[in-house]
């Protein structure tokens, strides 16, 4: 089991487990403990198996760390180094704190996923009961190739709708005065995530600077002091790690603008057929050059730009997933599809839905070749000829016609007794009506027996699937699987079937 080279992240000596001195190792994927003087681990847990860690309260004499596993078992380590016990424990705890969530997510996800599959698929659940619970094959083997099959398509179906970002998340960080000429901003993990999702450049800066250059606190302090946060303040050119963010935002905004809009109906540039030449017209456009704008006007337009940008970013963050498949089905850079969009938009805009007769959703006309089959559904084929409803109607008409023209032939009437016996024979239950009472096999066998048989069948099928998936046998593992327990399993399945059969025979007799 032990992988050849595992990265050891932390080694803590003098750790007691079950009153035995030893060394605790924290590795990339598991935590392990080995007694002193021996080079093998007596305790080894994958991080994925650990549900949580517990530590002894600060004041206690024994400094301990307990790991609780998903199975409910627990392991307790006692840090026994007199001088540095607390420090050792803290180091181990900190590291675990970082490591566990990573694996936990994975483990939880898998468990959840298995659970979901079993709940959604009763056949699979039965199979699981038949094979795993009755210990024909192990759970791991059962899931081994099932999860990977489903991984691809469930990721689509299980795609939970992501929670969007509140547009006002910055408003929620109202600063409070701390009483001595300073401001306090309260940040929560949610707000930080909102900031990161809305402003990827800030996230990038965070990645670059924390924790190498700045502590987290310093980073956010600078963020709130920056001109980037207070966009109405004009950038005074101070050295500020966020000035680059502003520049990048500006760039992003520009590129968005340059790309133009997809919907031709909102494109203000193409709105007007610019027919007035330069120099004509009543009012010349007011000079928009920045040179003669006042500082206030500049800051005002900065605010406006900021709001547009902020809203666009929030909107984009909320729908980042759907970005590739844009709403109207064509990508920005392909001019090729442009006309249809325009056409559709135009059609939409001239549509008067209430003037048209067809108001409901458009339906496809049903084209039936045999309308009676549609009306009655499939009818089990009898040994007799198949009669359509048209035939029946015809024959009813025919009979009615005959009845209308019926003239009793009084010379050839039946006797009373023969007539009544003929009626009896034609009544339900009579001799001549037997054909209608044919029983299908599925009605003769009780449903529980059928169910059992079905389970045995699927279970055997699953085992056979495992069996055939071993071919071609090109690894020793497969060979072992084949000759070892698969054979055993098939044997077991066979005996199960046999047991069922005898039980059934017994019951019948």
């Amino acid at each position: 089991m032990a992988s050849l080279s595992e990265e050891v992240l932390l080694v803590v000596k003098k750790v007691r487990q079950k009153k035995q001195d030893g060394t605790l190792y924290l590795m990339a994927e598991r935590i392990a403990w080995g007694p002193e003087g021996k080079d093998r681990f007596t305790v080894s847990h994958l991080y994925a198996d650990i549900r949580c860690q517990k530590i002894s309260p600060d004041g206690k004499a024994k400094i301990q760390l307990q790991l609780v596993l998903h199975t409910g078992e627990s392991t307790t380590f006692h840090f026994a180094n007199e001088s540095s016990a607390l420090k050792d424990r803290e180091a181990a705890k900190e590291l675990l704190q970082q490591l566990l969530p990573k694996f936990k997510k994975k483990a939880n996800k898998e468990l959840e996923e298995k659970n979901r599959m079993l709940q959604e698929d009763p056949v699979l659940f039965q199979l699981y009961k038949d094979l795993v619970v009755s210990q024909v094959i192990s759970a791991e083997e059962f899931w081994a190739n099932r999860l990977s099959i489903n991984n691809t398509d469930h990721s689509l179906s299980n795609n939970k709708q992501e929670v969007g970002i509140s547009a006002a998340f910055l408003a929620d960080i109202r600063p409070q005065t701390d009483g001595c000429n300073g401001l306090r901003y309260n940040l929560t993990a949610d707000i930080i995530e909102s900031i990161f999702r809305t402003y990827p450049t800030v996230k990038q800066k965070y990645g670059e600077n924390v924790p190498h250059n700045l502590t987290e606190k310093e980073f956010w302090t600078r963020f709130f002091q920056s001109h980037y946060f207070h966009r109405d303040r004009i950038n005074t050119g101070t050295q500020d790690i966020f000035s680059e963010c502003a520049k990048q935002d500006e760039k992003g905004l520009k590129s968005m603008v340059v790309q133009g809009v997809k919907n031709p109906m909102v494109d203000l540039l193409s709105l007007e057929d610019k027919t007035l030449d330069e120099g004509y017209g009543v009012s010349t456009a007011p000079s928009t050059s920045n040179s003669n704008k006042t500082v206030k006007e500049n800051s005002n337009s900065a605010i406006i730009k900021r709001f547009n940008h902020h809203s666009a970013m929030v909107l984009a963050a909320g729908s980042r997933k759907g970005e590739t498949s844009s709403t109207d089905g064509n990508s920005r850079d392909s001019d090729f599809f442009q006309p249809p969009v325009k056409k559709v938009k135009l059609q939409e805009s001239i549509e008067y839905e209430d003037l048209q007769r067809e108001n409901g959703p458009k339906t496809v006309a049903l084209n039936l070749k045999k309308s009676d089959r549609y009306a009655h559904g499939p009818v089990p084929l009898q040994s007799q000829q198949y009669t359509t409803s048209q035939d029946i109607i015809n024959s009813v008409n025919c009979i009615r016609h005959e009845m209308a023209n019926y003239k009793p032939n009084l010379t050839q009437v039946l006797s009373n007794s023969t007539a009544s016996s003929a009626i009896a024979a034609l009544s339900p239950g009579g001799v001549l009506m037997q054909a209608g009472a044919q029983q299908a096999i599925n009605q003769m066998v009780p449903s529980e027996v059928q169910g059992e048989l079905k389970h045995l069948y699927t279970a055997a099928g699953e085992l056979l699937r495992h069996f055939w998936s071993c071919f071609p046998v090109n690894t020793p593992f497969l060979e072992e699987k084949l000759t070892g327990h698969l054979e055993e399993m098939l044997q077991m399945a066979y005996s199960k079937f046999h047991a069922w059969q005898t039980r059934r025979m017994l019951r019948k007799t």
Binding site: A168, G260, L268, L269, E297, G318, D354
Partner: protein, 682 residues
Amino acid sequence: MKINIEGLLVYFPYDYIYPEQYSYMLELKRTLDAKGHGVLEMPSGTGKTISLLSLIVAYQRAFPLEVTKLIYCSRTVPEIEKVVEELRKLMEFYSKETGESSNFLALALSSRKNLCIHPEILHANIVVYSYHYLLDPKIADLVSKELAKKSVVVFDEAHNIDNVCIDSMSVNITRRTLDRCQNNVDTLQNTIRNIKETDAAKLKEEYRRLVEGLKEANVARETDVYMANPVLPDEILQEAVPGSIRTAEHFVGFMRRFLEYLKARLRVHHVVQESAPQFLKDVFDKVCIDRKPLRFCAERLRSLLRTLEIADITDFSPVTLISNFATLVSTYSQGFTIIIEPFEDRTPTIANPVLHFSCMDPSIAIKPVFERFQSVIITSGTLSPLDIYPRILDFRPVTMASFTMTLARTCLCPLIVGRGNDQVALSSKFETREDFAVIRNYGNLLLEMSAIVPDGIVAFFTSYVYMENIVASWYEQGILENIQRNKLIFIETPDASETSMALEKYQEACENGRGAVLLSVARGKVSEGIDFVHHFGRAVIMFGVPYVYTQSRILKARLEYLRDQFQIRENDFLTFDAMRHAAQCVGRAIRGKTDYGLMIFADKRYARADKRGKLPRWIQEHMSDGSLNLTVDETVQLAKHFLRQMAQPFRQEDQLGLSLLTLEQLESEEILQKITQIAHQA
């Protein structure tokens, strides 16, 4: 359906019809019968365009000799494309019903970039293009002058037609224009010198032609082949080009002299305003240029450019501009004013002299259209008050009518907010523009609305500067942050592509359910060209009354002119102008009977009769006395009530017989009587 409009069989490509569409077609037919002009107002979203097209096409088919062509003018490129789409629908209906493919030729000129196709215009049955192709003499002369007299001209979205007319006749000259013009003149001189050496015969030929004068054009005009051109007055057609500018060199020299004069005029230190005759007198006094050769300038330059076989005329647009100015200023002694401003009002220290030659009389540009074509229809969703248009455009309509929107449910809700919750009067008037209390209450109104209105809210401000100031102040007061808790915020900027992007994002936010607020400006591009149908605009808030900036000298001159020439009082015109823009803004939200929206007028001045009375009838009639001076809280209550009502299901059956008719209903006597009441004779 096929409808009978006073004996005319009209193919209408829908199964149902709105009563007002029927009335509209009726009035339209009467106008065409009378071979006169008409002014028709009908709310947008009631199928104005398809009614127009159906009736006129039917008319053309029934009386091919009476009406030979439909010239449909609209304002924006998307509008033009929509007309074409509707026309296509109509034609498909025709070929489906009659079984024959129609031999109608329709032509759309959607953009000047793909211009055109001159001979085809003459043969098309329907031409769809922008206003400028008919109203701007520079383009009309190229594109439209040969259009047949027996055409019907439709100006759709015509509420701003006077401004288009004025724009097409006004000229602004800056130092830069003059410098570039100087370069043009130099180039011309060099080209002439070169040609003289290589091909002197060509110049002689031109000279000969100019002696004969513009007889050809005159003959054409007299025989009604051409439409008149306001830049080419009748008188000069009968005369030869004056000797002083007949040879190419002389003309170039003449232009040089005129240019020097203009340069000198731009060297002023104070504002100068003068009339055209004053200007001409000064030209004569200073540089001895007569009125007569000036009038020939535009035509003379055109001839020269043709003779020199200059391919790219756009390079010569500055000198063309100056020559057009010369012709205009010497042709019209009235209707224009000349204002020379040495600097912009906002920046008195930076010299930037501009000579504004402004047209004040929109009838000058549109006169040839009214004179030439037998029927001209002015139509829009907002043309109130109807009688002002015939006055300022100087024509006599045979029909004037305003149609309302028949509604099975009241899907528009106009509310006038006059007070804040603290009883502060809300107004954008100059004195209280900076008032914090007003700004705060405006913010409060938007905030409250953002909490109760689903999807999209559009807010309009009276000007860009005003919006900037309010936004800044809302930002400081934290109002915008609170609005962001409810909706995203997008704001119009002076940059069109930035605004386009904001608009698209705004629509995206309305579409995905997050909801958004768009802050925009009346008289801006958004207010004129973008529709906010259904959830893209469930409420429009008009902050203030969108008066035009009254300090402009050009506007003052125009107001004076209106008063003197048309007896229209300054205040009446300003209010009319403000109210048509307000109506445009709030009308953006209602684009049909299945649509619904709140129209919030946030200024107590809207409650006054002189303002309210200038709104279109279809908005006015839904204003009750109880909704004229509301507080913000009361507005919220009414809005909530309205929105709850509108959220109820609304089906086609609810409309039938009231605001939607089947063919049978249309033919019943009772309904026809009801319909006749709808048309409102102005």
